[in-house]
């Protein structure tokens, strides 16, 4: 990337602060949020920006996450650009509204600071909160570091509001690993971000009962419309199809926005959907989401320096699931280890594993695909463990034999 394109000032920020800064620069009309560890700093910082008059945002300090997302639904339906943030139990409390936001096609952006779900209570990172919401119709982008958290929130508004998409976006960052860890984050000039995100232009729709008059798809007294009333057996299915298509369209839009953002910032994240490392010649690869990818890439680099053909594939977009890109990158790998930071109880492996394994079903030749579940409740994944996993995978590649399909890494027996 050309150095002259890298712009902005470097600030020492943690992941939550990076998100708050992105929201500050995105000209957001309404922020409704409720504090929950480890997301609290986002709300704290942003409320400071509001109190200092640095933003014109209407900040709604609601009484629960259910209300937070409900307020965002109302605001977005009225044409506003809306943002909220939550974690873990807070996301769980938003559940029914998640489906309403996506069903109504409201381009809300939400930062989710990944945290394990109770019980027992745990405030540290795993992906069980957002994995539970994977079928809710939200786009899900998982970031690796605080810089990417900042960049992705800015991109998220462009993705969400794209006329071919119009879906809410979750930007997922790992609790504590990112949310509470200081990092150099490059903050773009306000006007650059403002120009990049623009203002929200509501989509126009032809309303059948207004003689097909074209009106903005927002709640407006001048051209009153109803959003999301009752569908029975007759139309519910038809109203779900455009959501399915929009999610498919999002793949292209995420890629485009990633490219376009590179032009203003000098930074891009793979092709927007996946971030590969060393896969050109890798015999074995680890596939995963989130902050642990940084550590895995570090170990992979060390091993590659010593001649081991190992690679890493970080999945940035889990929804929409970039099946074509994943198959393309992993088809020549001999052993793939999918590392899930969540459990789908009773399922045959973690959520990421199930999707990737299924993606390869139609391939005439496919890698051995294993599932290692790690890091629940914030359990660390140290480089030594990653190295052991890589060596084990290389061994399996040599023999063609894996003894165990699903493994739990780092749990005491």
């Amino acid at each position: 990337m050309a150095a002259e394109k890298v712009r902005g000032v470097v600030m020492g920020l943690n992941g939550d602060e990076a998100v708050a800064w992105a929201v500050k620069q995105c000209n957001v009309d309404v922020v409704a949020a409720y504090p929950i560890t480890p997301q609290t700093i986002i709300v704290e910082r942003f409320s400071e920006f509001v109190a200092n008059g640095e933003v014109n945002t209407e900040f709604v300090p609601v009484e629960s996450e259910h209300s937070a997302l409900s307020a965002c639904v109302g605001a977005a339906a009225a044409g506003a650009r809306a943002f909220t943030a939550t974690a873990s139990q807070g996301l769980a409390l938003m559940w029914e509204i998640l489906y309403i936001a996506s069903g109504l096609r409201l381009p809300i952006v939400m930062a989710v600071v990944n945290r394990a779900l109770s019980a027992p209570i745990n405030i540290h990172c795993d992906h069980s909160d957002t994995m539970g919401a994977r079928d809710s119709g939200w786009i899900q982008l998982y970031v690796e570091d605080s810089q990417e958290a900042y960049d992705t929130v800015i991109q998220a508004f462009r993705i969400a509001e794209h006329p071919d998409v119009l879906l809410p976006v979750m930007v997922n960052l790992d609790g504590f690993f990112l949310s509470h860890t200081l990092q150099d984050v490059r903050i773009l000039p306000d006007e650059v971000v403002k120009k990049f995100v623009g203002t929200r232009e509501p989509t126009k729709v032809k309303v059948p009962y207004l003689n097909n008059k074209e009106v903005p798809l927002v709640l407006d007294g001048e051209t009153p419309i109803t959003l999301g009333p009752l569908d029975l057996q007759d139309y519910y299915f038809e109203h779900k199809m455009p959501q399915i298509i929009a999610m498919e369209n999002a793949k292209k839009v995420i890629k485009e926005v990633n490219e376009e953002y590179a032009k203003i910032s000098g930074r891009k994240y793979g092709n927007g959907l996946i971030v590969p490392y060393g896969l050109e010649d890798a015999d074995v690869a680890i596939v995963l989401l989130g902050s642990a990818a940084g550590t895995v890439r570090y170990v992979a680099r060390k091993l590659r320096e010593n001649g081991y053909k190992v690679g890493v594939l970080r999945i940035r977009a889990f929804r929409p699931f970039p099946i074509e890109d994943i198959v393309e990158k992993l088809r020549n790998v001999k052993v793939v280890c999918v590392m899930d930071r969540s459990v789908s109880f009773g399922a045959h492996g973690g959520p990421l594993f199930m999707e990737i394994r299924s993606a390869f079903y139609d391939m005439p030749e496919r890698p051995i695909i294993l599932n290692y579940i790690y890091g629940l409740g914030g359990r660390d994944l140290p480089p030594s463990t990653i190295k052991d996993i890589f060596m084990e995978l290389l061994d399996i590649a040599k023999t063609g034999q894996a003894r165990q399909l699903i493994k739990y890494v780092g749990v005491r027996e």
Partner: protein, 90 residues
């Protein structure tokens, strides 16, 4: 029922195809309110209390819009002169 539309023909964002007034929702009543015009004193308390806006006041007399009345009986209960009786639907 008119021809059902395919999903490609629908406007985006769960917009209804018709005004809500075109969906007649009063067809599952068990009891219908019948107004005795001789007794009615035109106080319009029924109009105030009706949760479905099914009481119609045309300036001279009170009537019921049976397209939307669900037969809840609140009007009959509230009528101070007992001018409304609830009659079983056949």
């Amino acid at each position: 029922m008119s021809e059902l539309k395919g999903w490609r023909e629908l406007p985006i964002g769960t917009l209804p195809l018709k005004f809500s007034t075109e969906f007649k929702t009063g067809d599952w009543r068990t009891f219908r309110p019948v107004i005795n015009q001789e007794k009615c004193v035109k106080c319009l308390l029924c109009w105030v209390y009706c949760p479905e806006m099914s009481i119609v006041w045309d300036g001279t007399k009170v009537s019921v819009n049976y397209d939307f009345c669900k037969g809840c009986g609140i009007c009959a209960h509230e009528c101070p002169v007992k001018a409304i009786s609830m009659v079983p639907e056949r």
